[in-house]
Symmetry: C2
Subunit: 210 residues, 2 copies
DNA sequence: TTGGGGGAACTAGACGGTACAGTACTGGCC
DNA sequence: GGCCAGTACTGTACCGTCTAGTTCCCCCAA
Protein backbone atom coordinates (compact mmCIF):
# COMPACT_ATOMS: atom_id res chain seq x y z
CA UNK A 1 0.00 0.00 0.00
CA UNK A 2 2.78 2.42 0.87
CA UNK A 3 4.30 3.32 -2.47
CA UNK A 4 7.37 5.23 -1.50
CA UNK A 5 8.46 5.94 -5.03
CA UNK A 6 9.54 9.50 -5.57
CA UNK A 7 6.28 10.32 -7.29
CA UNK A 8 4.10 9.05 -4.48
CA UNK A 9 6.29 10.73 -1.91
CA UNK A 10 5.95 14.10 -3.59
CA UNK A 11 2.23 13.62 -3.89
CA UNK A 12 1.91 12.92 -0.18
CA UNK A 13 4.11 15.91 0.60
CA UNK A 14 1.82 18.17 -1.37
CA UNK A 15 -1.35 16.80 0.17
CA UNK A 16 0.01 17.17 3.67
CA UNK A 17 1.08 20.72 3.06
CA UNK A 18 -2.12 21.65 1.29
CA UNK A 19 -4.46 20.47 4.03
CA UNK A 20 -3.67 23.21 6.56
CA UNK A 21 -3.73 25.83 3.84
CA UNK A 22 -7.25 24.93 2.81
CA UNK A 23 -8.34 24.41 6.40
CA UNK A 24 -7.16 27.83 7.41
CA UNK A 25 -8.52 29.90 4.56
CA UNK A 26 -11.21 27.89 2.86
CA UNK A 27 -11.24 26.98 -0.80
CA UNK A 28 -11.22 30.46 -2.28
CA UNK A 29 -8.78 31.78 0.29
CA UNK A 30 -6.23 29.03 -0.22
CA UNK A 31 -3.30 29.92 -2.44
CA UNK A 32 -1.55 27.43 -4.66
CA UNK A 33 1.66 29.40 -4.24
CA UNK A 34 1.46 28.86 -0.51
CA UNK A 35 0.78 25.18 -0.97
CA UNK A 36 3.85 24.79 -3.15
CA UNK A 37 6.00 26.78 -0.76
CA UNK A 38 4.82 24.86 2.27
CA UNK A 39 5.39 21.56 0.51
CA UNK A 40 8.90 22.66 -0.53
CA UNK A 41 7.92 21.87 -4.06
CA UNK A 42 7.65 23.90 -7.21
CA UNK A 43 4.30 24.90 -8.55
CA UNK A 44 5.03 22.91 -11.64
CA UNK A 45 5.22 19.77 -9.53
CA UNK A 46 1.94 20.57 -7.85
CA UNK A 47 0.25 20.86 -11.20
CA UNK A 48 1.90 17.66 -12.34
CA UNK A 49 0.15 15.72 -9.58
CA UNK A 50 -3.15 17.58 -9.49
CA UNK A 51 -4.72 19.00 -12.58
CA UNK A 52 -6.01 22.09 -10.82
CA UNK A 53 -7.00 23.61 -7.51
CA UNK A 54 -10.36 21.93 -7.46
CA UNK A 55 -8.92 18.47 -7.87
CA UNK A 56 -6.36 19.08 -5.15
CA UNK A 57 -9.12 20.20 -2.82
CA UNK A 58 -11.35 17.20 -3.37
CA UNK A 59 -8.37 14.88 -2.98
CA UNK A 60 -7.63 16.35 0.41
CA UNK A 61 -11.16 15.87 1.64
CA UNK A 62 -11.70 12.42 0.21
CA UNK A 63 -8.46 11.17 1.72
CA UNK A 64 -9.89 11.69 5.18
CA UNK A 65 -13.02 9.59 4.93
CA UNK A 66 -10.93 6.57 5.89
CA UNK A 67 -10.81 7.81 9.49
CA UNK A 68 -14.31 6.46 10.02
CA UNK A 69 -12.94 2.91 10.20
CA UNK A 70 -11.79 3.62 13.72
CA UNK A 71 -15.22 4.75 14.82
CA UNK A 72 -17.06 1.74 13.44
CA UNK A 73 -14.59 -0.64 15.05
CA UNK A 74 -15.04 1.14 18.36
CA UNK A 75 -18.80 0.77 18.15
CA UNK A 76 -18.89 -2.97 17.67
CA UNK A 77 -16.01 -3.56 20.07
CA UNK A 78 -17.73 -1.63 22.82
CA UNK A 79 -21.33 -2.73 22.43
CA UNK A 80 -21.02 -6.38 21.45
CA UNK A 81 -19.19 -7.51 24.55
CA UNK A 82 -22.10 -8.61 26.70
CA UNK A 83 -21.01 -6.50 29.66
CA UNK A 84 -22.74 -3.79 31.67
CA UNK A 85 -24.78 -1.79 29.16
CA UNK A 86 -24.69 1.48 31.06
CA UNK A 87 -20.93 1.32 31.36
CA UNK A 88 -20.52 0.37 27.70
CA UNK A 89 -22.74 3.21 26.52
CA UNK A 90 -20.80 5.71 28.60
CA UNK A 91 -17.56 4.42 27.16
CA UNK A 92 -18.88 4.55 23.62
CA UNK A 93 -20.23 8.05 24.12
CA UNK A 94 -16.92 9.19 25.50
CA UNK A 95 -15.05 7.63 22.59
CA UNK A 96 -17.35 9.23 20.02
CA UNK A 97 -17.02 12.59 21.67
CA UNK A 98 -13.26 12.43 21.86
CA UNK A 99 -13.00 11.45 18.21
CA UNK A 100 -15.36 14.06 16.83
CA UNK A 101 -14.01 16.91 18.94
CA UNK A 102 -10.56 16.47 17.44
CA UNK A 103 -9.65 20.01 16.28
CA UNK A 104 -8.46 18.84 12.88
CA UNK A 105 -11.71 16.99 12.26
CA UNK A 106 -13.76 19.97 13.37
CA UNK A 107 -11.96 22.20 10.92
CA UNK A 108 -12.55 19.69 8.16
CA UNK A 109 -16.24 19.65 9.04
CA UNK A 110 -16.37 23.39 8.78
CA UNK A 111 -14.62 23.37 5.47
CA UNK A 112 -16.82 20.71 3.90
CA UNK A 113 -19.94 22.46 5.13
CA UNK A 114 -18.75 25.79 3.86
CA UNK A 115 -18.08 24.40 0.40
CA UNK A 116 -21.07 22.06 0.29
CA UNK A 117 -22.84 24.36 -2.12
CA UNK A 118 -19.84 24.83 -4.39
CA UNK A 119 -18.96 21.12 -4.33
CA UNK A 120 -22.18 19.21 -3.77
CA UNK A 121 -20.63 15.82 -4.50
CA UNK A 122 -18.03 16.41 -1.87
CA UNK A 123 -20.57 17.19 0.83
CA UNK A 124 -22.73 14.26 -0.11
CA UNK A 125 -19.86 11.80 -0.19
CA UNK A 126 -18.47 13.02 3.12
CA UNK A 127 -21.90 12.67 4.67
CA UNK A 128 -22.48 9.19 3.33
CA UNK A 129 -19.05 7.78 3.98
CA UNK A 130 -18.57 9.33 7.39
CA UNK A 131 -21.80 10.28 8.99
CA UNK A 132 -24.26 7.81 7.62
CA UNK A 133 -21.86 4.91 7.75
CA UNK A 134 -21.09 5.20 11.44
CA UNK A 135 -24.77 5.76 12.10
CA UNK A 136 -25.67 2.53 10.36
CA UNK A 137 -23.04 0.62 12.29
CA UNK A 138 -24.41 2.01 15.51
CA UNK A 139 -27.96 1.17 14.46
CA UNK A 140 -26.95 -2.41 13.72
CA UNK A 141 -25.35 -2.77 17.14
CA UNK A 142 -28.44 -1.31 18.80
CA UNK A 143 -30.55 -3.71 16.76
CA UNK A 144 -28.66 -6.65 18.22
CA UNK A 145 -29.16 -5.26 21.71
CA UNK A 146 -32.86 -4.93 20.93
CA UNK A 147 -33.08 -8.58 19.90
CA UNK A 148 -31.40 -9.58 23.13
CA UNK A 149 -34.11 -7.63 24.96
CA UNK A 150 -31.69 -5.18 26.51
CA UNK A 151 -33.01 -2.22 24.59
CA UNK A 152 -36.60 -1.51 23.76
CA UNK A 153 -36.78 -0.03 20.27
CA UNK A 154 -38.97 -0.20 17.22
CA UNK A 155 -36.50 1.53 14.99
CA UNK A 156 -32.77 1.00 15.62
CA UNK A 157 -31.80 3.73 13.18
CA UNK A 158 -33.90 6.26 15.01
CA UNK A 159 -32.37 5.18 18.29
CA UNK A 160 -28.89 5.61 16.85
CA UNK A 161 -29.79 9.09 15.62
CA UNK A 162 -31.09 10.01 19.03
CA UNK A 163 -27.98 8.70 20.74
CA UNK A 164 -25.61 10.85 18.71
CA UNK A 165 -28.00 13.78 18.87
CA UNK A 166 -28.11 13.72 22.65
CA UNK A 167 -24.36 13.47 22.72
CA UNK A 168 -23.07 15.74 20.01
CA UNK A 169 -25.45 18.59 19.24
CA UNK A 170 -24.29 20.92 21.97
CA UNK A 171 -20.52 20.42 21.98
CA UNK A 172 -20.18 20.28 18.21
CA UNK A 173 -22.20 23.42 17.69
CA UNK A 174 -20.29 25.23 20.35
CA UNK A 175 -17.06 24.22 18.68
CA UNK A 176 -18.26 25.16 15.23
CA UNK A 177 -19.26 28.66 16.21
CA UNK A 178 -16.42 29.42 18.56
CA UNK A 179 -13.13 29.03 16.83
CA UNK A 180 -11.08 28.14 19.89
CA UNK A 181 -9.82 24.65 20.48
CA UNK A 182 -9.72 24.44 24.25
CA UNK A 183 -13.45 24.66 24.76
CA UNK A 184 -13.78 21.51 26.79
CA UNK A 185 -11.51 19.92 29.34
CA UNK A 186 -11.41 16.15 29.53
CA UNK A 187 -13.65 16.23 32.58
CA UNK A 188 -16.27 18.21 30.67
CA UNK A 189 -16.32 15.59 27.95
CA UNK A 190 -16.73 12.89 30.58
CA UNK A 191 -19.69 14.70 32.01
CA UNK A 192 -21.30 15.24 28.60
CA UNK A 193 -20.85 11.58 27.69
CA UNK A 194 -22.33 10.40 30.95
CA UNK A 195 -25.34 12.68 30.69
CA UNK A 196 -26.08 11.61 27.13
CA UNK A 197 -25.70 7.92 27.90
CA UNK A 198 -27.97 8.32 30.93
CA UNK A 199 -30.73 10.08 29.01
CA UNK A 200 -30.49 7.54 26.21
CA UNK A 201 -30.89 4.68 28.64
CA UNK A 202 -33.94 6.27 30.25
CA UNK A 203 -35.50 6.63 26.82
CA UNK A 204 -34.53 3.27 25.36
CA UNK A 205 -33.62 0.71 28.04
CA UNK A 206 -36.02 -2.15 28.59
CA UNK A 207 -38.02 -1.60 31.77
CA UNK A 208 -37.24 -5.07 33.09
CA UNK A 209 -33.50 -4.40 33.21
CA UNK A 210 -33.74 -1.24 35.25
CA UNK B 1 -39.22 53.16 13.30
CA UNK B 2 -39.34 52.92 9.54
CA UNK B 3 -37.15 55.71 8.34
CA UNK B 4 -37.88 55.77 4.65
CA UNK B 5 -35.53 58.59 3.93
CA UNK B 6 -33.31 58.00 0.96
CA UNK B 7 -30.35 57.11 3.13
CA UNK B 8 -32.13 54.40 5.06
CA UNK B 9 -33.70 53.07 1.91
CA UNK B 10 -30.37 52.77 0.14
CA UNK B 11 -28.84 51.13 3.16
CA UNK B 12 -31.57 48.52 3.24
CA UNK B 13 -31.20 48.01 -0.51
CA UNK B 14 -27.51 47.32 -0.11
CA UNK B 15 -27.96 44.92 2.78
CA UNK B 16 -30.64 43.01 0.96
CA UNK B 17 -28.56 42.69 -2.15
CA UNK B 18 -25.39 41.83 -0.26
CA UNK B 19 -26.87 38.96 1.72
CA UNK B 20 -27.25 36.53 -1.18
CA UNK B 21 -23.84 37.50 -2.52
CA UNK B 22 -22.11 36.61 0.73
CA UNK B 23 -24.31 33.55 1.23
CA UNK B 24 -23.46 32.20 -2.16
CA UNK B 25 -19.73 32.77 -2.21
CA UNK B 26 -18.60 33.21 1.36
CA UNK B 27 -16.73 36.22 2.64
CA UNK B 28 -13.66 35.99 0.44
CA UNK B 29 -15.66 35.01 -2.62
CA UNK B 30 -18.11 37.86 -2.35
CA UNK B 31 -17.42 40.82 -4.61
CA UNK B 32 -18.24 44.37 -3.65
CA UNK B 33 -18.74 45.17 -7.32
CA UNK B 34 -21.40 42.51 -7.50
CA UNK B 35 -23.06 43.82 -4.36
CA UNK B 36 -23.22 47.30 -5.81
CA UNK B 37 -24.53 46.05 -9.13
CA UNK B 38 -27.16 43.85 -7.52
CA UNK B 39 -28.30 46.69 -5.28
CA UNK B 40 -28.50 49.01 -8.30
CA UNK B 41 -26.24 51.34 -6.42
CA UNK B 42 -22.85 52.77 -7.11
CA UNK B 43 -19.84 51.46 -5.27
CA UNK B 44 -19.34 54.87 -3.79
CA UNK B 45 -22.66 54.58 -2.05
CA UNK B 46 -21.83 51.18 -0.68
CA UNK B 47 -18.69 52.60 0.88
CA UNK B 48 -20.61 55.54 2.22
CA UNK B 49 -22.86 53.28 4.25
CA UNK B 50 -20.32 50.65 5.22
CA UNK B 51 -16.72 51.49 5.84
CA UNK B 52 -15.45 48.30 4.23
CA UNK B 53 -16.26 44.75 3.25
CA UNK B 54 -15.79 43.45 6.75
CA UNK B 55 -18.26 45.88 8.26
CA UNK B 56 -20.83 45.13 5.60
CA UNK B 57 -20.45 41.44 6.30
CA UNK B 58 -20.87 41.72 10.05
CA UNK B 59 -23.86 44.01 9.56
CA UNK B 60 -25.56 41.38 7.45
CA UNK B 61 -25.05 38.68 10.02
CA UNK B 62 -25.92 40.76 13.06
CA UNK B 63 -29.13 41.99 11.47
CA UNK B 64 -30.47 38.45 11.58
CA UNK B 65 -30.09 37.69 15.26
CA UNK B 66 -33.42 39.37 15.86
CA UNK B 67 -35.19 36.37 14.36
CA UNK B 68 -34.68 34.52 17.62
CA UNK B 69 -37.45 36.55 19.22
CA UNK B 70 -39.97 34.41 17.41
CA UNK B 71 -38.48 31.21 18.76
CA UNK B 72 -38.43 32.31 22.37
CA UNK B 73 -42.02 33.48 22.17
CA UNK B 74 -43.03 30.17 20.68
CA UNK B 75 -41.38 28.31 23.54
CA UNK B 76 -43.18 30.04 26.35
CA UNK B 77 -46.47 30.22 24.45
CA UNK B 78 -46.42 26.49 23.79
CA UNK B 79 -45.14 25.15 27.10
CA UNK B 80 -46.75 27.46 29.65
CA UNK B 81 -50.33 26.72 28.73
CA UNK B 82 -51.10 23.93 31.17
CA UNK B 83 -52.36 21.59 28.45
CA UNK B 84 -51.37 18.09 27.37
CA UNK B 85 -47.58 17.96 27.72
CA UNK B 86 -47.01 15.37 25.00
CA UNK B 87 -49.01 17.39 22.53
CA UNK B 88 -47.28 20.61 23.48
CA UNK B 89 -43.83 19.09 23.14
CA UNK B 90 -44.67 17.75 19.72
CA UNK B 91 -45.92 21.15 18.66
CA UNK B 92 -42.85 22.87 20.03
CA UNK B 93 -40.55 20.39 18.35
CA UNK B 94 -42.34 20.86 15.06
CA UNK B 95 -42.11 24.62 15.37
CA UNK B 96 -38.40 24.54 16.17
CA UNK B 97 -37.71 22.24 13.27
CA UNK B 98 -39.65 24.33 10.81
CA UNK B 99 -37.89 27.47 11.91
CA UNK B 100 -34.36 26.10 11.83
CA UNK B 101 -34.74 24.26 8.54
CA UNK B 102 -35.54 27.49 6.74
CA UNK B 103 -33.12 27.45 3.76
CA UNK B 104 -32.01 31.03 4.30
CA UNK B 105 -31.20 30.35 7.94
CA UNK B 106 -29.29 27.21 7.06
CA UNK B 107 -27.15 29.12 4.60
CA UNK B 108 -26.49 31.76 7.22
CA UNK B 109 -25.44 29.04 9.64
CA UNK B 110 -23.01 27.69 7.10
CA UNK B 111 -21.58 31.10 6.45
CA UNK B 112 -21.09 31.99 10.09
CA UNK B 113 -19.47 28.65 10.77
CA UNK B 114 -17.20 28.97 7.80
CA UNK B 115 -15.99 32.39 8.91
CA UNK B 116 -15.94 31.65 12.63
CA UNK B 117 -12.16 31.49 12.58
CA UNK B 118 -11.73 34.69 10.58
CA UNK B 119 -14.37 36.57 12.62
CA UNK B 120 -14.38 35.06 16.10
CA UNK B 121 -16.60 37.77 17.57
CA UNK B 122 -19.21 37.13 14.94
CA UNK B 123 -19.38 33.44 15.67
CA UNK B 124 -19.48 33.99 19.40
CA UNK B 125 -22.19 36.63 19.19
CA UNK B 126 -24.31 34.56 16.84
CA UNK B 127 -23.97 31.61 19.19
CA UNK B 128 -24.86 33.60 22.28
CA UNK B 129 -27.68 35.64 20.85
CA UNK B 130 -29.30 32.83 18.88
CA UNK B 131 -28.32 29.48 20.15
CA UNK B 132 -27.72 30.02 23.81
CA UNK B 133 -30.58 32.41 24.24
CA UNK B 134 -33.25 30.08 22.94
CA UNK B 135 -31.68 27.29 24.94
CA UNK B 136 -31.95 29.28 28.14
CA UNK B 137 -35.57 30.13 27.43
CA UNK B 138 -36.32 26.49 26.87
CA UNK B 139 -34.47 25.53 30.04
CA UNK B 140 -36.49 28.04 32.03
CA UNK B 141 -39.75 26.64 30.68
CA UNK B 142 -38.61 23.10 31.48
CA UNK B 143 -37.66 24.28 34.95
CA UNK B 144 -41.21 25.48 35.54
CA UNK B 145 -42.54 22.13 34.35
CA UNK B 146 -40.15 20.45 36.76
CA UNK B 147 -41.45 22.46 39.67
CA UNK B 148 -44.98 21.51 38.76
CA UNK B 149 -43.86 17.90 38.90
CA UNK B 150 -44.61 17.20 35.27
CA UNK B 151 -40.99 16.67 34.33
CA UNK B 152 -38.37 14.93 36.38
CA UNK B 153 -35.09 16.74 35.98
CA UNK B 154 -32.12 17.75 38.07
CA UNK B 155 -30.72 20.11 35.48
CA UNK B 156 -33.16 22.01 33.24
CA UNK B 157 -30.36 23.26 31.00
CA UNK B 158 -29.17 19.76 30.32
CA UNK B 159 -32.73 18.69 29.54
CA UNK B 160 -33.07 21.56 27.09
CA UNK B 161 -29.82 20.60 25.40
CA UNK B 162 -31.01 17.03 25.10
CA UNK B 163 -34.35 18.11 23.67
CA UNK B 164 -32.81 20.08 20.84
CA UNK B 165 -30.11 17.47 20.31
CA UNK B 166 -32.67 14.71 19.84
CA UNK B 167 -34.58 16.92 17.47
CA UNK B 168 -32.02 18.72 15.38
CA UNK B 169 -28.78 16.82 15.07
CA UNK B 170 -29.79 14.61 12.19
CA UNK B 171 -31.81 16.97 9.97
CA UNK B 172 -29.49 19.93 10.44
CA UNK B 173 -26.40 17.92 9.63
CA UNK B 174 -28.03 16.41 6.61
CA UNK B 175 -28.97 19.86 5.40
CA UNK B 176 -25.53 21.29 6.09
CA UNK B 177 -23.72 18.68 4.08
CA UNK B 178 -26.17 18.36 1.25
CA UNK B 179 -26.72 21.66 -0.45
CA UNK B 180 -30.24 20.95 -1.66
CA UNK B 181 -33.24 22.60 -0.09
CA UNK B 182 -35.96 20.03 -0.60
CA UNK B 183 -34.49 17.42 1.70
CA UNK B 184 -37.52 16.98 3.87
CA UNK B 185 -41.20 17.06 3.09
CA UNK B 186 -43.56 18.44 5.70
CA UNK B 187 -44.54 14.91 6.68
CA UNK B 188 -40.91 14.02 7.32
CA UNK B 189 -40.56 16.95 9.67
CA UNK B 190 -43.72 15.88 11.48
CA UNK B 191 -42.28 12.44 11.98
CA UNK B 192 -38.93 13.77 13.20
CA UNK B 193 -40.63 16.09 15.67
CA UNK B 194 -42.86 13.35 17.00
CA UNK B 195 -39.98 10.91 17.45
CA UNK B 196 -37.85 13.49 19.29
CA UNK B 197 -40.68 14.57 21.56
CA UNK B 198 -41.47 10.94 22.33
CA UNK B 199 -37.90 10.04 23.23
CA UNK B 200 -37.58 13.17 25.34
CA UNK B 201 -40.70 12.30 27.29
CA UNK B 202 -39.48 8.78 27.96
CA UNK B 203 -36.23 10.21 29.28
CA UNK B 204 -37.64 13.11 31.27
CA UNK B 205 -41.34 12.70 32.09
CA UNK B 206 -42.29 12.05 35.69
CA UNK B 207 -43.22 8.37 36.14
CA UNK B 208 -46.46 9.22 37.94
CA UNK B 209 -47.86 11.05 34.94
CA UNK B 210 -47.35 8.21 32.47
C1' DT C 1 -49.94 76.18 -1.32
C1' DT C 2 -46.35 76.40 -4.40
C1' DG C 3 -41.99 76.80 -6.42
C1' DG C 4 -37.42 77.02 -6.51
C1' DG C 5 -32.23 76.89 -4.22
C1' DG C 6 -28.73 74.86 -1.75
C1' DG C 7 -26.33 71.04 -0.51
C1' DA C 8 -26.03 66.37 0.60
C1' DA C 9 -26.47 61.96 -1.47
C1' DC C 10 -26.00 59.44 -5.54
C1' DT C 11 -24.32 57.37 -10.35
C1' DA C 12 -20.89 55.71 -13.50
C1' DG C 13 -16.77 54.28 -14.27
C1' DA C 14 -11.74 54.69 -14.31
C1' DC C 15 -7.63 53.64 -11.61
C1' DG C 16 -3.70 51.95 -8.53
C1' DG C 17 -2.24 48.34 -6.10
C1' DT C 18 -2.42 43.68 -4.92
C1' DA C 19 -3.21 38.83 -5.23
C1' DC C 20 -3.78 34.67 -7.51
C1' DA C 21 -4.38 30.47 -11.10
C1' DG C 22 -1.99 28.37 -14.27
C1' DT C 23 1.99 28.36 -17.86
C1' DA C 24 6.66 28.79 -19.49
C1' DC C 25 11.43 29.02 -19.04
C1' DT C 26 16.10 28.44 -16.93
C1' DG C 27 19.59 26.44 -14.52
C1' DG C 28 21.21 22.80 -11.38
C1' DC C 29 21.20 18.03 -9.39
C1' DC C 30 21.01 13.07 -9.71
C1' DG D 1 19.41 13.10 -20.16
C1' DG D 2 15.48 13.71 -17.30
C1' DC D 3 13.41 15.62 -13.31
C1' DC D 4 12.66 19.39 -10.40
C1' DA D 5 13.23 24.10 -7.80
C1' DG D 6 12.86 28.70 -8.56
C1' DT D 7 10.89 32.29 -10.74
C1' DA D 8 9.20 35.20 -14.22
C1' DC D 9 5.05 35.92 -16.82
C1' DT D 10 0.01 36.34 -18.47
C1' DG D 11 -4.42 37.25 -17.69
C1' DT D 12 -7.89 38.02 -14.57
C1' DA D 13 -10.31 39.63 -10.48
C1' DC D 14 -11.10 42.57 -6.87
C1' DC D 15 -10.78 46.20 -2.94
C1' DG D 16 -11.01 50.69 -1.96
C1' DT D 17 -10.32 55.54 -3.82
C1' DC D 18 -11.20 59.20 -6.78
C1' DT D 19 -13.37 62.42 -10.16
C1' DA D 20 -17.04 64.54 -12.34
C1' DG D 21 -21.48 65.04 -13.33
C1' DT D 22 -26.55 64.20 -11.71
C1' DT D 23 -30.61 63.64 -8.78
C1' DC D 24 -33.20 63.99 -4.86
C1' DC D 25 -34.85 66.07 -0.52
C1' DC D 26 -36.02 69.73 2.61
C1' DC D 27 -36.84 74.35 3.89
C1' DC D 28 -38.36 78.79 3.22
C1' DA D 29 -40.05 82.72 0.81
C1' DA D 30 -43.68 84.40 -2.01
Amino acid sequence: MEDNGRTARKRAQILEAARPVFLRNGYVGASMDEVAALASVSKQTVYKHFTDKEQLFTSIIMDTTAQVEGLTKMITATLDDDGDLARDLRALARGFLGAIMEPELLRLRRLVMAEAERFPDLGRTWYERGFERSLKTLAAAFGRLGERGVLRLDDPELAAEHFVGLLLWIPVNKAMFRGGNDLYAEADLDRLAEAAAGAFLRAYASPDTA
